[in-house]
Each structure stands twice: as structure tokens, then as C-alpha cells.
């Protein structure tokens, strides 16, 4: 057997590495915020990450899912006998087996139900039909071929508007009283009468039909699980890279009827999430059921086709949008949405917000009126509706408003930046209440926009564009200015499945002054092991190298709702700062005893309490920790030790913003879009680790450019998904990405303990409309074309530039 020779643990001299970089110690680490290399990288660069497929348990068997080749069909019969006769097959599970366990259907996070394995009929292409468990993964795949399913094929609906036709086939005939394909009642926000009045008084109105196509987060590691039900103790250990381990534990307890204290979720390293790893998928329930049935740990990992076609799609919003102006500024916005939720409504959103936060659609502008409605429908497409690097439909909202500002600028014959500048919410208007009910916390939009213009040399670009167009070339300049609401959220407004969207933190300072901070947030690559150590370091004045961040084990971390919607820093970061301040306050009481004075006579400087007016007399956190655990007298009313807990309930969302400018060159002969430049100025408040923040922006920009130019899940008339591998579902490579040009402004969040706002998703929100606006800007100036939908791939741009722009199928 081979040994991993490169790991110092296997080398005779390994101990010399134990206090060094190989174990995550970072040279020149700041005591607090600032640029710092990542602690977690030590294992990743050695190939020693511990991802889901690296989990190996004694006796472990392998699961695989049989999936439907049809998008809509009745199941007539399922014959599993040949599969069961395969020598390596341990069990085959179908819907009726799950019924006996009460697991045939599971609740979704939108209070709908979803079939774990289809029993009555299949409702989308590649829906789960049977689960095979075999002694190795190859045999499990072989056995799938031995299952014989007879289908009675039904007409499929893959177009959201057609789903509302009175004669459309009923998709959810399993639901009592369901007579049409509406997934939820129409939902609205804003004052319709006022909005109508504003439109009535307008000078100019722009109208566009916008389709934000169905796309997929597609992290490089697919989804999967190792479920290990211990038949002796009833303990269920679940290894599963997911973004919300605590919420998953509660859901599994409800779904499987298992005692919650017997369930432990273990997320090791996660190869990206981007929203894809928020939901509970049928494969997970199958793995758990399989472990119960087989009496052994079951590993199930989906392949790339299963990932792309069946899990966690994003967007699929059909938007009819109107925007109006009066006196040269934007005054009103009206949007009617038909949202395609697929066959089961498992879209991710807080309970009180059936359309997520879509009604933040008024953007960064001081409008006189706005009204929006959202209608959700069932179709024969995969369920999901997760937010792909997005806080609950904010991406769709930002795309809508930012496309419409450009459309209105065209109708007004105005410069798109000038129109934005004239319409911005001004700094003195914060806190600002929008027409649809959000209270924006802070921002200086004009300053942020101007910095982007300077970096891009906007005037120069416009001059260059004129010259290019005159020469028959096509150059486009795209602009967006977005405002997001991230960090859900205040418990009085926001819950998912009845769980308040708060997060916990626990901090233990050990006798040596070293610390462990435990979080409910769950990193998928965002660098929490570094950033959260820095938050504690900033508050306590100890080195981030002396702080371990614990996450990903529900038995060892406090409750909270996890990492998505850019909520880690706004919510868990708040909890971490608060818990560190609690420890600091406790340390003050100890220091007062140690220094024989009163706590109020002490002042804090990073790392120590000292006597006001006598700074030489002080006690460091290390000495206070030693005292707190030692056989020493305690401050009155305090127990020994130096630790604390906190649950952070954010008073509001945080509202990061950004100004983006992109430059594209379009080949007039082929329609190919070349991304020449991308300037991104983000204001996410206080930056804890600027290096990590910039990395987050880089990644979001690449995903946003991908969405704008190439990413789409499309379907044929029979409901077959046409993008079932990376040969058809295109992600941007290094060749499609420009060198990102970043800038920043800092408007601290007034209500967050450290003034931070959340940034993980900003770029993926701002980039798609920015690039689309650039493409359309080019086509408009060269050929008078006013609209096309994403993705702006060569074939579609070619059609658009020849006057045949069509929404994608």
C-alpha cells in the first residue's frame, strides 16, 4: 500500500512542523482584521482536504439512484428482482418500501411536499425512482440497469406561461384540492394605486419582457452523503457537505421521526456550495433509509448529470417590467413575475417572503412608486429554486431593475450612468424606507459610482466606442449599480420552517490564553477558519494563530441556520464579535480582582485591561485566563473559567452595494462576446480580511459572467433537460474571464457589531446585468437592438444582432 510521504505526520521529523505553517500557523498574522493568508490552506495545498468522498467507514456500502428517462409519466410497474439477484446488491429501495418507513414524501423548505422516490408518477426528467445499495459503486451502477420500470408517458409542461393554460395537464395531482398548476397564491408588494398614479404622470416609460433563465450553482464537488445508522445505539451520524448543518439535523428529525439528539451532522471540507448545498435532496433521505435497511453505512454521491439536472436550480423568472421617469429621474417601477418552481416547490426563502426578497427590486433609487407581483407555477422541471450565490431572489431583482434602468436610459436618450446618478438614494436619506418596505441602512452611492467611472475612464471608453462603431466594430459598455439586502435575518420577520434565522457562537479561552470559537456557520471555501479567528483576535487582542475555529459538527457547535445569503459575516460574524466582547467583559471583572481595583476603573487596549491613569498596572488576556482557571478568588457573582455563549439576532439586514462597469467587444461576424474589462467597486462595509473579500468578489464575478454569457438549463418539448454535462452546461474557464479590476468604498454598517455587511454574493448579483447591459449597449449603438435575454452566447447574440432575439427555451 502506498503511503502519503509528503505529510509531515508520516515523516520522522514531523514534530518540528507541529507549531508551524503545516498546521495552519500563518506568518505575520495581524492581531485582528487585515490581510492574512488562510489557516485552512495548509491542508488543501497538500491534497489533504477531507471531502465527502474521502469518508470511509468500516462495512460501508454504496448507493445509486435509478432516475426517470421521462419528464412526466405514470409509473405502471417496477420490477427489481433482477437487480436484487445481483451478487453484490444488498438492497433495492422503491417508493412503497419508503412508505412503510414513512419516508416516501418529504417536506420542502417552502412548506410543499416532494417525493423521495416516485411512486405514482414521475414529474421531471431524471426524477428519483429507485435506490440500489451494493458493495461497491461500480456494482451499484450495474444493478441500476437491471431494474425494469414500465412508464405511461404523459404530456410535459416546461414553459411557465403554458403551465397556466386552462387545459394544461395537472402536474400535482397528488395534492388534495389542487386543480391547476399554481404553486402558491399571487404575492404582491408596494402600493399599486400610488404606482399607477406615478406611471400616469410619467414623461417616459420603458417596457421589457425579461427572462432570467434557469441556471445552476454547480459547485465543483457534487452533492452526496454518507449515512451511518448505528443499530446498537440508534445514533445516526450523517456525513454530508451542506451549508446549514443544524437546520438539516432538525429537518431529518422531523422527516425520519428520529430523536434529534441522536442525529449528528458532520460536514468536513466542502468543495463549494453556492446555494446548491442548502436543501435536503431525495438522495440524502435514500442514504439514511438505506443505512436503516442495510444496517451499514451507506455512501451516495451524485454524478455530474444528476447534479446539473436534478438538484437546486436557480432563477427561472419570467418578468414583465415597466419603468418610468419624470423630470429626468427614475420615478416608478412595476414588475409582474411568473416564477417557474418546477415539479415541487422547494424554493428557498424565509416563511413570510413567498417570493424571497424579490421586492428589493426598487434597487438603489429614490422612487415615487413601485409595485410588484409574483406568481409561482409548477412545471415538469426539477424542483429547487435555490439562490445561486444570491440572497433569496435578490439576483433576479437586481437583474430586473438594472436592465430596466438601461432600457429607460435608451428610451430617454440619456447616459445610463447619468440617469442612475440623478435617481440615487442620497447619503442623508439613510436609513431609507423603500416603496416595497425595506429599510436600507447606509451607503454613499454617488461616491461608489464615481470611483468606478474613474477606474474605467468612462468618458474615454465612450469616445472609444464611438470610434469603433464608426469603423464597423461592436463595442459595448455595461453599467450596474446594485444594492443587496443580506444577512437574514431579524427573528421577528425571518424564519425557515419555523426556525428563526439567528446564529450562535461559543468562545472558550483556555488556561493558556489560546481559544476555540465554535460557529453555526458552515464554510464551503469562504475561509471561515481564518476570518472568524480574526474577528475574535480583533476583540480580544490574541493572535489568530492561537484561535481554532470549530464548525461542521452539530454535536460540538451552537445552533444556527448556516451559510448562504451572504449571512455568515452579518449574522455569525455578529455572534462572534458579541461572544468575544462577553469574554472581554468577564475578563474585566477578573482583572479588577487581580489588580485590586473596580471594573469601572479599568480601560481596554488590545489584549489587556489596565488601570485608568496608571497604564503600567494591567493584566493581559493570557494572564487573566490563567487566573480564571487557577485556584484564585472569584469576582462576586462570577464562576471560574473564561468562556461565553451568544445567539445573535440581527436588528436588520445589511445593505452592501456596488458599482460595476464592463467592456465587451462583439465579433460582428460570429456574435462572439469577448469580455475585455470588468471594473468592480464594492462597498461591503468594514472588511475583516481584504484578501479573502477580494477573492470572494473574483469568484462571484466569474460566476456572474458565466450566467450572462453561457450558463443555462434548457429543455426540449418533451421535458428533457438538454444540459446534463459540462459539455452542454458551460462554465467560464480562465480564457473567458478578464483580469478583474477591483475598487472599494467603505460605508460601515451602522447596526452591525463590527460594521461589516456581507459580500459573498455581491459580484454574482451585479455581474449578470452588467455584462448583459454591455452586450445590449454594443448592439444598440451599432444596430439599434434594444433587448436580448441571457445567455449572450454567440448563437443568441448573432440572432439578436440580426433582429431575431428570442427568449431561451
Amino acid at each position: 500500500m502506498a503511503t502519503v510521504e509528503t505529510w509531515p505526520g508520516k515523516h520522522p521529523d514531523w514534530l518540528k512542523h507541529a507549531n508551524g505553517e503545516a498546521f495552519g500557523q500563518v506568518k505575520d498574522a495581524p492581531i485582528g482584521h487585515g490581510n492574512m493568508k488562510r489557516k485552512e490552506d495548509a491542508r488543501f495545498i497538500r491534497g489533504l482536504g477531507n471531502y465527502l468522498d474521502d469518508v470511509r467507514l468500516p462495512g460501508m456500502v454504496h448507493g445509486a439512484l435509478l432516475r426517470s428517462p421521462y419528464a412526466h409519466a405514470r409509473i405502471v410497474s417496477i420490477d427489481t428482482s433482477a437487480a436484487l439477484a445481483h451478487p453484490k446488491v444488498a438492497a433495492v429501495v422503491i417508493a412503497k418500501d419508503l412508505e412503510t418507513l414513512g419516508l416516501a414524501w418529504m417536506p420542502t423548505i417552502s412548506y410543499d411536499t416532494q417525493a423521495v422516490l416516485a411512486g405514482d408518477k414521475v414529474r421531471f426528467h431524471l426524477q428519483e425512482v429507485a435506490f440500489v445499495i451494493a458493495t461497491d459503486a461500480y456494482a451499484a451502477q450495474d444493478a441500476l440497469q437491471l431494474i425494469d420500470v414500465e412508464y405511461d408517458v404523459l404530456p410535459a409542461i416546461v414553459n411557465a406561461r403554458k403551465a397556466l393554460d386552462p387545459d394544461a395537464p395537472l402536474i400535482r395531482d397528488d395534492k388534495v384540492g389542487q386543480t391547476d398548476n399554481l404553486a402558491s397564491p399571487e404575492w404582491e408588494a408596494g402600493d399599486k394605486m400610488n404606482c399607477d398614479r406615478v406611471f400616469g404622470e410619467a414623461d417616459t416609460v420603458a417596457v421589457r419582457e425579461l427572462l432570467y433563465p434557469r441556471c445552476h450553482p454547480s459547485p465543483m464537488e457534487t452533492c452526496g452523503m454518507v449515512a451511518d445508522m448505528n443499530p446498537a445505539t440508534g445514533q445516526l451520524n450523517i456525513y454530508n457537505g451542506n451549508q446549514a448543518p443544524h437546520a438539516h439535523r432538525t429537518v431529518y428529525a422531523q422527516v425520519a421521526g428520529l430523536p434529534e439528539q441522536n442525529i449528528r451532522i458532520l460536514c468536513n471540507d466542502i468543495g463549494g456550495g453556492f446555494g446548491n448545498k442548502v436543501p435536503v435532496y431525495p438522495g440524502y433521505v435514500c442514504a439514511i433509509a438505506g443505512s436503516i435497511v442495510a444496517g451499514a453505512p451507506v455512501k451516495w454521491i451524485e454524478d455530474r448529470s444528476e447534479n446539473l439536472v436534478t438538484t437546486g436550480f436557480a432563477r427561472d423568472y419570467n418578468m414583465h417590467a415597466e419603468m418610468c421617469s419624470k423630470g429626468g429621474r427614475i420615478t416608478g417601477l412595476r414588475v409582474n413575475v411568473i416564477a417557474d418552481h418546477g415539479a415541487f416547490d422547494s424554493t428557498a426563502q424565509p416563511t413570510k417572503f413567498p417570493a424571497g426578497f424579490f421586492h428589493i427590486v426598487t434597487g438603489s433609487y429614490d422612487l415615487d412608486g413601485a409595485h410588484c407581483t409574483v406568481k409561482a407555477v409548477y412545471t415538469n422541471k426539477a424542483p429547487g429554486g435555490v439562490a445561486y450565490r444570491c440572497s433569496f431572489r435578490i439576483t433576479e431583482a437586481i437583474y430586473c431593475v438594472e436592465r430596466m434602468v438601461d432600457a429607460l436610459a435608451q428610451e430617454m436618450n440619456a447616459d445610463p450612468i447619468e440617469l442612475r446618478m440623478r435617481s440615487f438614494i442620497r447619503p442623508e436619506q439613510f436609513p431609507y424606507e423603500t416603496q416595497t418596505g425595506w429599510t436600507y441602512d447606509s451607503g454613499d452611492y454617488e461616491k461608489t459610482m464615481k470611483l468606478a467611472m474613474e477606474m474605467a475612464d468612462y468618458e474615454g471608453l465612450r469616445r472609444e466606442q464611438q470610434e469603433k462603431i464608426a469603423n464597423g466594430e461592436i463595442m459595448g459598455i455595461g453599467v450596474t449599480f446594485f444594492t443587496e439586502g443580506v444577512g437574514a435575518g431579524p427573528r421577528r420577520h425571518m424564519d425557515i420552517l419555523g426556525l428563526a434565522m439567528n446564529d450562535g457562537a461559543e468562545l472558550r479561552v483556555h488556561p493558556s490564553g489560546k481559544a476555540v470559537v465554535s460557529l453555526s456557520a458552515q464554510t464551503q471555501g469562504q475561509g471561515h477558519e481564518t476570518t472568524f479567528a480574526q474577528i475574535v483576535a480583533e476583540e480580544l487582542g490574541i493572535s489568530p494563530n492561537d484561535i481554532i475555529v470549530r464548525h461542521g459538527d452539530t454535536d460540538k457547535t451552537p445552533y444556527g441556520l448556516g451559510t448562504y445569503g451572504s449571512r455568515s459575516t452579518p449574522v455569525s460574524g455578529g455572534a462572534t464579535a458579541v461572544v468575544a466582547r462577553k469574554v472581554r467583559d468577564k475578563a474585566r471583572a477578573f482583572a479588577a480582582v487581580m489588580l485590586e481595583t473596580r471594573p469601572e476603573d479599568l480601560a481596554w487596549e488590545k489584549g489587556r485591561w489596565y488601570v485608568k491613569g496608571d497604564p503600567e498596572r494591567g493584566a493581559t488576556i493570557e494572564s487573566i485566563a490563567e487566573y480564571a482557571y487557577g485556584p484564585n478568588p472569584l469576582p462576586e457573582g462570577l464562576e471560574g473559567g473564561l468562556d461565553a455563549n451568544a445567539v445573535y439576532d440581527p436588528p436588520n439586514l445589511t445593505y452592501p452595494c456596488g458599482a460595476y462597469i464592463s467592456v465587451v467587444d462583439i465579433d460582428p461576424g460570429t456574435g462572439k462576446v469577448h469580455m475585455r474589462r470588468f471594473i468592480a467597486v464594492d462597498d461591503c462595509g468594514v472588511r475583516i480580511n481584504p484578501m479573502i473579500v477580494e477573492g470572494q468578489i473574483h469568484g462571484g464575478l466569474a460566476e456572474g459572467v458565466g450566467i450572462a454569457l453561457m450558463e443555462i438549463l434548457s429543455f426540449d418539448e418533451q421535458g428533457n433537460c438538454l444540459n446534463s454535462s459540462y459539455m452542454d452546461y458551460l462554465l467560464p474557464t480562465a480564457l473567458e474571464c478578464p483580469e478583474w479590476e477591483l475598487g472599494e468604498t467603505v460605508t460601515p454598517c451602522p447596526h452591525h457589531p463590527i460594521g461589516a455587511k456581507g459580500v459573498g454574493e455581491s459580484a454574482c448579483n451585479g455581474a449578470p446585468p452588467c455584462v448583459t447591459n454591455a452586450v445590449i449597449d454594443g448592439l444598440y449603438h451599432a444596430k439599434g437592438i434594444k433587448h436580448m435575454d441571457m445567455p449572450c452566447n454567440p448563437a443568441r447574440v448573432w440572432a439578436a444582432m440580426n433582429g431575431n432575439a428570442q427568449p431561451p427555451q
Binding site: K37, D41, I45, S725, A734
Partner: protein
């Protein structure tokens, strides 16, 4: 075959993929799997110094060849290869899943380039364009490869 200089011999099914052989038989988990179709580059290893996609190579095809995985980059005493150090210094990774494939691809690029310190941006982008990274947007991966090339040249100049 040999992997990272160590001889390997197992009886395997003819259809076994090299990526599965590396992970399951040689028990080297640093090489990951991402797509099945040779599009993502997560599974890249070097075979006789050339980057190949181990998800579309049969284990049997590697017989008689020298395979290098991410575990073969650092020295036995734990000293990192400059490419590993470069990814660390330049924040060239986030979730770490594509990182082994990107690092060995970068290693091969530097080894084969006649003048690594003079690589153009486009040459680096093209070399890594067989791989997908969803986290970094590639900027810092390019910087990481440049860091490695520059520091190797510097070290060679001193010695």
C-alpha cells in the same frame, strides 16, 4: 505503474478509471473527481510529466507509466513545492477542490515552458483552461503560477 515514485500493483477490473484507482487502491485522496466528461480538470494528474484527466483514463492504461499526484509535489520532509507555496501566498484557492488539479497543471506548465518567468497571461490562461474553478475567478490562480515561476528562477539564480 508507479505513483509518486512508488511502485503499485493491483488486479483491477478492466473498466476501472485511473481516478478511482488512485483514490481507492493507492488510497491517495488528494486527487478529486468532478465531472465524468473530461471538462472540469478536477482529476488532473501528471502521467510521464504530461497533465491528463484521470477520470477518462483507465487504470490499466497507466501500466508502465509514472503517475504524479498532488501528494508527489512536496518533498518527503514536508517542504512545499513552489507551486504549492504560490497558491498559498497568492490566495489561489478557496474551497480547495480544484486545487490539486490546478497545481499539477501549473507544475507541468512551468516544467515545460522554455522561459517560465516570461510566460504571458494568455499562455497561463490557456494552460489552465482545461480546468474549472468555481471559487477564485482565476485571477489568483494565475498569480500563484507566476509566483512559483518567479521564485523558482530566483532560487536557481542563487544556487
Amino acid at each position: 505503474m508507479s505513483i509518486n515514485g512508488q511502485a503499485q500493483s493491483h488486479d483491477v477490473e478492466p473498466r476501472m478509471l485511473l481516478v478511482h484507482y488512485i483514490r481507492e487502491m493507492a488510497e491517495l485522496h488528494g486527487t478529486h473527481w468532478g465531472c465524468d466528461t473530461s471538462n472540469c480538470g478536477i482529476c488532473v494528474v501528471l502521467m510521464d510529466g504530461e497533465p491528463i484527466k484521470s477520470c477518462t483514463t483507465l487504470a490499466a492504461q497507466a501500466e508502465g507509466h509514472e503517475v504524479m499526484t498532488v501528494e508527489g509535489l512536496a518533498k518527503a520532509d514536508g517542504t512545499l513545492d513552489p507551486i504549492q507555496q504560490g497558491f498559498y501566498e497568492e490566495h489561489g484557492l478557496q474551497c480547495g477542490f480544484c486545487t490539486p488539479g490546478m497545481m499539477v497543471t501549473g507544475r507541468a506548465l512551468i516544467d515545460k515552458h522554455p522561459n517560465p518567468t516570461q510566460m504571458t497571461d494568455h499562455e497561463i490562461r490557456e494552460a489552465i483552461s482545461g480546468g474549472l474553478c468555481r471559487c477564485t475567478g482565476y485571477n489568483n490562480i494565475i498569480k500563484a503560477i507566476r509566483w512559483a515561476a518567479a521564485h523558482e528562477a530566483q532560487a536557481a539564480g542563487r544556487s
